[in-house]
C-alpha cells in the first residue's frame, strides 16, 4: 500500500512526461525511432518501459491492481486482457478523444475496433493486426519436387510427410506446442475444420466432431512430421528458431512475425522463405484476422491529455503507414488501400494477407474474461494429441471442463 502512495505522489498533475509501457515488438522499435519527431513537435517527453509479453502482463497486474498512476499509456492485448482490464476499470473511456476529426476513427477496421470496445465505449485503439499464414521453405519444396505450396490441409500433410522422408534431419512441419501458446495458432485449423471454441448459443464447442478432427490433425502433424523429441512448451520464439535454423519445411504462424524469418541477421534461411494463405480444410481456409495489440490509457493516470496526444500520434495515418511499410500490419483501412502501404511486404505475403482479411475470423482464442485459464483448458487436447494420447477423449474432457468454466463465468 505504501507503494501506491509513492506512485500517486510523484505522478501528480499534467506532467510533461508521458510514461508509456510497451511490449517487445517490431512496432515498439519503430516507435522508438520516430519518437524524437513527436517530442520535438509537442515539447513532451516520452518515457518508455519495454517488456516481454508475460512480464508486461505481470507488470500490469501488479501496478494497475494497486491503482498506480505511474503508467499513462499502456500497450495491451485486446483479446487476451481487454475484457478483464475493462471490467476492472483499468482502461479509460476514450469516447471523447476518438472524435478528433483529422485523426479519423472511422478509418479503423471494424473487427479490431469491436474488440477494443467495452460496453459500447472505445477503451483502446488497435495498432497491430495479425493473420495466420503458412511459412514455407522454397528450396525444400523444390527439392521434394513440389511446384507450389499446399492449398489444402490434406496437401500440407502429404507435403510435410514427403519432405520429412527425403530429408531425415529436417522436420516436415513445426508450430507452437505449448498448451497455452498453441491455442491461437491452432484456432485457424479449428475454424478451417468447421469448428470454434464456443458455439452460437455460447456453449462450449471443443467437444464437437469438427474440433476433434482439428485437434487430431494438428497433433498428428507435429507428432509424425514435426521435429524429433518435440517439446510441449514451444511458443513462437522456440518454433520460429527451429524454422529459421533451417530445421523445418512448413510453419504456421502469425504474419506479424515474418521479419524474424526473412531478416538475414535472424534467420539462416532468410532468402528461401515463402508465404502462402492458410491451407483450406473441410470448411475452407479460415485463418484468424485479429488485432493483436492496442494502446489504452490507464484510468488512474493523471496525465490523460498528454497520454492521448501520444496515442493520437502513434496511431495516426502517417505513423501507421510508416509502421506498415516496415512490416507491421496496421488496423487502418487507408494503409491497406494505399499501394505504398503494401509495397514493402514480400509479394506472396501480401497476397496471403489479402486472402486472410477476406475470409478471416475475428478471434483466435475464446472471447472470455479469464482468457489465460480458458486457453489452458482448450489447449490441453493439443498437447495430448501431440504426445500421442487419444485426442477425441481429451477433447471430451476439455469440453466438460470448458462448459463448467463458461457456466462459472456467466454467473
Amino acid at each position: 500500500m505504501s507503494l501506491t502512495a509513492c506512485g500517486g505522489g510523484d505522478g501528480g498533475g499534467a506532467s510533461d512526461t508521458v510514461r508509456v509501457t510497451l511490449a517487445n515488438h517490431v512496432w515498439t522499435e519503430n516507435v522508438k525511432q520516430a519518437l524524437p519527431e513527436f517530442e520535438k513537435q509537442t515539447g513532451l517527453k516520452v518515457e518508455i518501459t519495454q517488456l516481454g509479453e508475460d512480464q508486461l502482463s505481470d507488470q500490469y497486474n501488479v501496478k494497475l491492481n494497486a491503482g498506480s498512476a505511474d503508467i499513462d499509456v499502456m500497450m495491451y492485448r485486446p483479446l487476451q486482457e481487454g475484457k478483464l482490464f475493462a471490467r476492472n476499470k483499468y482502461l479509460a473511456d476514450l469516447t471523447e478523444q476518438v472524435k478528433s476529426e483529422s485523426w479519423d476513427f472511422s478509418d479503423f477496421q471494424p473487427g479490431p475496433v469491436q474488440s477494443t470496445t467495452y460496453e459500447s465505449k472505445p477503451v483502446g485503439i488497435p495498432i497491430i493486426t495479425e493473420q495466420e499464414v503458412l511459412y514455407y521453405r522454397k528450396d525444400l519444396l523444390e527439392k521434394a519436387g513440389l511446384s507450389a505450396p499446399p492449398k489444402t490441409l490434406d496437401e500440407l500433410k502429404a507435403a510435410a510427410a514427403k519432405i520429412k522422408e527425403s530429408e531425415p534431419d529436417v522436420a516436415g512441419f513445426v508450430a507452437r506446442t505449448g498448451k497455452s501458446a498453441a491455442v491461437t495458432q491452432f484456432s485457424s485449423f479449428l475454424y478451417s475444420f468447421g469448428g470454434d471454441f464456443v458455439d452460437q448459443s455460447g456453449k462450449s464447442a471443443v467437444g464437437t466432431d469438427a474440433a476433434k478432427q482439428a485437434y487430431a490433425y494438428y497433433g498428428e502433424l507435429i507428432k509424425d512430421y514435426g521435429p524429433a523429441n518435440v517439446s510441449t512448451d514451444m511458443g513462437w520464439p522456440e518454433a520460429m528458431a527451429i524454422f529459421t535454423q533451417g530445421k523445418a519445411a512448413f510453419y504456421t504462424e502469425a504474419n506479424s512475425l515474418y521479419k524474424n524469418a526473412t531478416d538475414a541477421d535472424k534467420s539462416k534461411v532468410s532468402d528461401q522463405v515463402g508465404f502462402a494463405p492458410f491451407p483450406a480444410g473441410p470448411a475452407g481456409s479460415k485463418p484468424y484476422n485479429i488485432p493483436s495489440w492496442a494502446l489504452g490509457i490507464n484510468d488512474a493516470s493523471e496525465n490523460t491529455e498528454n497520454a492521448w496526444k501520444f496515442i493520437e500520434w502513434a496511431t495516426g495515418k502517417e505513423q501507421t503507414l510508416a509502421q506498415q511499410k516496415s512490416g507491421v500490419p496496421g488496423a487502418r483501412t487507408s494503409v491497406w488501400a494505399d499501394p505504398e502501404g503494401v509495397s514493402t511486404f514480400p509479394e506472396d505475403l501480401a497476397e496471403a494477407i489479402a486472402a486472410s482479411t477476406e475470409n478471416g475470423v475475428g478471434h483466435d482464442r475464446p472471447l472470455v474474461v479469464k482468457v489465460a485459464e480458458a486457453r489452458e483448458i482448450v489447449g490441453q487436447p493439443i498437447v495430448d494429441a501431440i504426445t500421442g494420447k487419444d485426442a477425441a477423449a481429451s477433447a471430451d474432457t476439455a469440453h466438460t471442463a470448458f462448459q463448467q468454466f463458461l457456466d462459472d463465468e456467466a454467473e
Binding site: 491492481n65 476492472n88 506446442t177 523429441n229 517439446s231 510441449t232 511458443g235 479469464k370 498437447v383
Partner: protein, 310 residues
Amino acid sequence: MATITSKAPSGATGTPGWVRWVNDHRKWLFAAPAMTFVAALLVFPLAWTGYLSLTDAEGSVRAESEFVGFQNYLDVLSDTTRFWPAVGRTATFTGVALLFEMVLGMAIALLLWRPFKGQKWVRVAILLPLVATPVAVGMMWRLIFDPNIGMANQVLGWIGIGPQPWLAGEHTALPTTIFIDVWQWTPMVVLILLAGLTSLSEEPQEAARIDGASTWQRFRHVTLPLLMPTVTVAILLRGIDALKTFDILYATKGRGGGSFHEVETLNVYAYGLSFDYNEYGVSSTVLILFFLIIIGAMWALTARRKEARR
C-alpha cells in the same frame, strides 16, 4: 524501569520534559525503526494475504469481494488435480535435490578440507555456479537441454546414446530441473560444511587414528557427529530455499510448470493463480498453506536438532 526512574531525579532539575519522556521510553524508541520495518514488510503483507485467503477476490484486488470463510481452504485441500500434485512435486523436488546436495556437498567438502596444490583454483571453480543468477542459469540449461538443437544431446550422440527429451519430456522434466538445482546449489552446501570442518579440532581425529580407526570409521563416528550442528544448518537453509524454488522452474518451463504441469510446485502454482488466473483469494489460500508447510518443516528440523543436543 526501576533503574531509569531512580536515575531520572538526579538530572531532573532543568531537563526539558521531552528529554525525560525520551529517556523513559528509550527501549521502545530504539526498537521502533526495526519494528516498523517488520510490521510494514512482514506482518502487514502476511495479514493481508491471510485476509485475502478468506475472500473470493478475483480479477482485481480493488474490486469488491465477499468474505467466504474457509471455503477456499476446503476447495484447495480437496483439489486433487492441481494442488496435491503440486505438493507432491514440491516434496519430491526438495527431498531429492536436498539429498544429492548434502551427499555431494559433503564429499566435495571433505576433498577440499585438506590443503593441496592448486586448492585455491579448485575452490573458485566449484563456487562459480553459486554466483550465477538462477534465471540466467535456467536459460543456459534450457538451451543446453533443448532436445533438437541443444548441446546435451549432441554430447550423448558422440558416445552413442540416443537423444533424450530432458526438459521437454513429461516424465524427465522434473528430474532435469532437480539436476539443475543440484548443480547450482551444491556449492553453497560445500561452503557451509567446509566452514564447519575447518573449525573442528584435530585431537579427536588423532585419538581415533591412534586407536586404529579406518578412514570410514573416523568419518562416521568422529567427523560426522562433531559436524552435525553444521549439517543441520545446511539442511535447514538449503531445504527452505529448495521448497521455495521458483526462478529455475519458471525460467526452464514457463507458466504453469509446462503443458502437463510437469514441474508445477506450490510456488509456481500460486504464481499462476495470481498472475495468470487473477484468482487472488485462492492464490492467497495456497500461499498460506505453503507457508504453514514451510513452518512445519522448519519446526520438525529444529526440534530434531534440539533433541540431538540433549
